[in-house]
């Protein structure tokens, strides 16, 4: 298991990482025509190219037909490296038989590089789109070198706050349902989601890094058994869905349908996530999830969720509550680095609270009243 993402000090500069790249599209050239890998950097192996061709999106593979339609896929290759498809419509296909030419920019990176992006394909997508020349869409080259992407070493506070508004309650419920399926490792096709990229971002933001590291996802691409990822956002009607996944190997979740009331070993974590979302604290969840690289079980995540909640309760706890909180966490063995760090944080908070309670005993004017009110809550 990769080590957890360490939160760098605020002054750390953004770094860069090299990733391999390729272009899969349909152009006419002296060596061939039709959809194929037209250019690739030298670091992509033959087996990896074969795997890419097996599932790369070809004609008509984007859910939307508009010229600005886009899609993304992220999955692990058999080599163990991470592969991403950044797919766009790029004008008319050269045989002019209707429909747009589908242009896919393929990125391949090792797990350590992916970890630098917090195992978040949307972060990779943003970094890549900032670097990829738009001219490549109009005129794909025949040769490519490795691409250098900028990577942030710290989650910028302002970016997440500006990126997504607070989730409406009904949407939060649906996103939590999708998150439950991800944590339960059930393959899920979400049909008809509005703004699937945003829904995916919310889902990924609350998915612990231990799950994200191996998670395969896509949005904006038509569903195909060749791209049967763990979490797929696609527009598909019921008859088409039944035709393609009629054997029930993938759970089809229609966005407008009622959320199934299933139980899961991750319910405690999901409740914690919902509470944070409802309080507008999605930054906190994103940051915490990015650090959970070793905590994978429902029990471990429940402990994390309880610990985070209790750390905040310590600050206002009266002696009785403080004792109960200490007892709850005193004999717990940490499940991973983040758990250990949070336990240390809890202990520090307890020490600080004890000091403040002792001072309050000596100066009973205000502290005891506040502690009693906190206990009543």
């Amino acid at each position: 298991m990769d080590p957890g993402a360490v939160v760098d000090p605020p002054e750390a500069p953004a770094g860069t990482v090299p990733v391999e790249q390729a272009i899969f599209t349909s152009i006419r050239s002296p060596l061939g025509r039709g959809y194929r890998i037209v250019a690739a950097s030298s670091g992509i192996s033959t087996d990896e190219k074969k795997e890419i061709v097996q599932c790369a999106p070809s004609h008509g593979s984007l859910c939307a037909s508009s010229p600005t339609a886009c899609g993304l896929a992220s999955f692990e290759l058999r080599s163990g490296r991470r592969c991403l498809f950044l797919t766009r419509n790029a004008g008319v296909e050269h045989t002019a038989r209707g429909g747009c030419r589908v242009h896919t920019h393929v990125l391949v990176m090792d797990q350590e590089t992916y970890r630098r992006f917090r195992y978040d394909p949307l972060e990779v997508e943003t970094a890549a789109l900032a670097k990829i020349d738009e001219e490549l869409l109009r005129s794909p080259p025949t040769r490519l070198d490795a691409l250098t992407l900028g990577v942030q070493t710290r989650e910028p506070r302002s970016r997440q706050t500006d990126a997504a508004p607070r989730l409406p309650s009904a949407t939060a419920k649906r996103v939590a349902g999708i998150l439950r399926a991800v944590l339960d490792r059930r393959r899920t096709l979400v049909a008809g989601a509005p703004a699937p990229r945003d829904i995916l971002r919310w889902t990924l933001g609350a998915t612990p890094a231990a799950f994200r590291a191996r998670l395969s996802v896509s949005y904006g691409l038509r569903f195909s058994p060749a791209r049967s990822f763990q979490l797929v956002f696609a527009d598909v009607d019921r008859s088409e869905a039944e035709r393609v996944v009629g054997d029930g190997s993938i759970e089809i979740r229609y966005w407008d349908a009622p959320v199934p009331q299933a139980r899961s070993s991750f319910d405690a974590w999901l409740r914690f996530v919902r509470e944070r979302w409802d309080a507008g604290r999605h930054d906190d969840i994103n940051r915490l999830s990015s650090q959970l690289a070793q905590e994978e079980s429902g029990q471990a995540l429940e402990q994390i969720a309880t610990l985070c909640t209790d750390i905040e309760r310590v600050g206002q706890a009266n002696p009785a509550l403080l004792d109960r909180l200490i007892q709850r966490h005193s004999r717990v063995m940490p499940n991973g680095e983040t758990h250990a760090r949070l336990l240390a944080e809890f202990e520090n908070a307890v020490k600080a609270r004890r000091v403040s309670l002792e001072r309050a005993e000596q100066d009973p004017s205000g502290e005891t009243q506040a502690a009693t009110e906190a206990d009543a809550q």
């Binding site: 004609h59 008319v92 058994p225 349908a257």
Partner: protein, 293 residues
């Protein structure tokens, strides 16, 4: 509402033999329609697979669509009955598009998007020979990818391995204009088949292969002697056929009667417009294959 139930019963796919649940519409491995299995079981005989293969944009979809439509309309006294409504999708797509003076859309590489046809074919004569045929419309790019790196698309490997006959379509128009690409693709395709079927390097492969020169309206002289045209303009293909294949015939075909080219304002691409269809040489290759089966 979400659907997550699985069925415990298993049905092997006709193409790849993978086990599928009885509820599956498409094979979970190769995306071939499971209806093929059910239809074959109803007929109590295994169908024969005739594969139409060729490079991208050579005209496989148009050829196969018109062929099936002609058979359904009892051309040359043939009777072809579709087994399953899905078998009619391809001719419907092709005929409908051509009626509106457009070519049908490009066939995607994803095998779940391919059109499959399962037809029971016989000649309306005394003591007719009935043949059940499965003819998938494959994407040319998928064929090219499989030929370049075998096992990229196992469904193609399985299909070709189980084929009783092949219709190898070659872009005769490009060849007539001096382009070597059709010749190289055909050579690669035949090399792939040779590697797949050859048990003995000294013995030629006996599977019937009809080499069909498409878009022959560009070079109508090929109708007189397609074999000679291939020898002159597709020499690599010709040599490979002579060396390694015992049962090859050459044909020329054409679908388009006249073709126009349209360009819209503010656009930099040209759209070919089939003004009307004039079918020629569509049935003969199929007829020959049927006689060889």
């Amino acid at each position: 509402m979400s659907t997550a139930a699985t069925s415990s019963a298993s049905t092997p796919c006709l193409i790849c033999a993978a086990k599928n649940s009885s509820r599956a519409v498409l094979c979970r491995e190769c995306s071939a329609p499971m209806a093929l299995v059910h239809e074959a079981a109803a007929q109590r005989r295994a169908p024969q697979i005739v594969s139409v293969i060729g490079d991208s944009n050579v005209g496989k979809t148009v050829y196969l669509g018109f062929l099936l439509d002609m058979l359904s309309q009892r051309a040359e006294n043939y009777e072809a009955v579709p087994r399953g409504a899905y078998s009619v999708d391809l001719p419907q797509i092709v005929i409908s598009h051509m009626a509106y003076r457009t070519f049908p859309p490009k066939t995607p590489m994803e095998s779940n998007e391919w059109n499959w046809a399962y037809y029971q074919v016989r000649r309306r004569v005394r003591n007719p020979k009935r043949v059940d045929l499965v003819m998938p419309d494959m994407a040319g790019e998928a064929l090219a990818a499989e030929v370049a790196a075998p096992s990229t698309f196992r469904v193609i490997q399985n299909l070709l391995g189980k084929s009783s006959g092949l219709l190898l379509l070659v872009d005769g128009a490009l060849a007539a204009h001096g382009t070597a690409q059709p010749d190289f693709f055909a050579l690669k395709m035949l090399s792939y088949i040779d590697a797949m079927f050859a048990r003995n390097r000294r013995k030629q492969i006996g599977m019937p292969i009809a080499v069909v020169l498409t878009k022959a309206d560009y070079f109508p002289q090929s109708f007189d002697d397609p074999r000679r045209f291939a020898e002159a303009n597709l020499n690599r293909l010709w040599n490979m056929c002579e060396s390694r294949f015992a049962n090859v015939a050459f044909f020329a075909c054409s679908v388009v009667g006249s073709l126009a080219y349209a360009i819209a304002e503010n656009e930099d691409f040209v759209t070919p417009v089939p003004l009307h269809t004039s079918l020629r040489g569509i049935l003969e290759p199929f007829e020959w294959i049927l006689e060889q089966l």
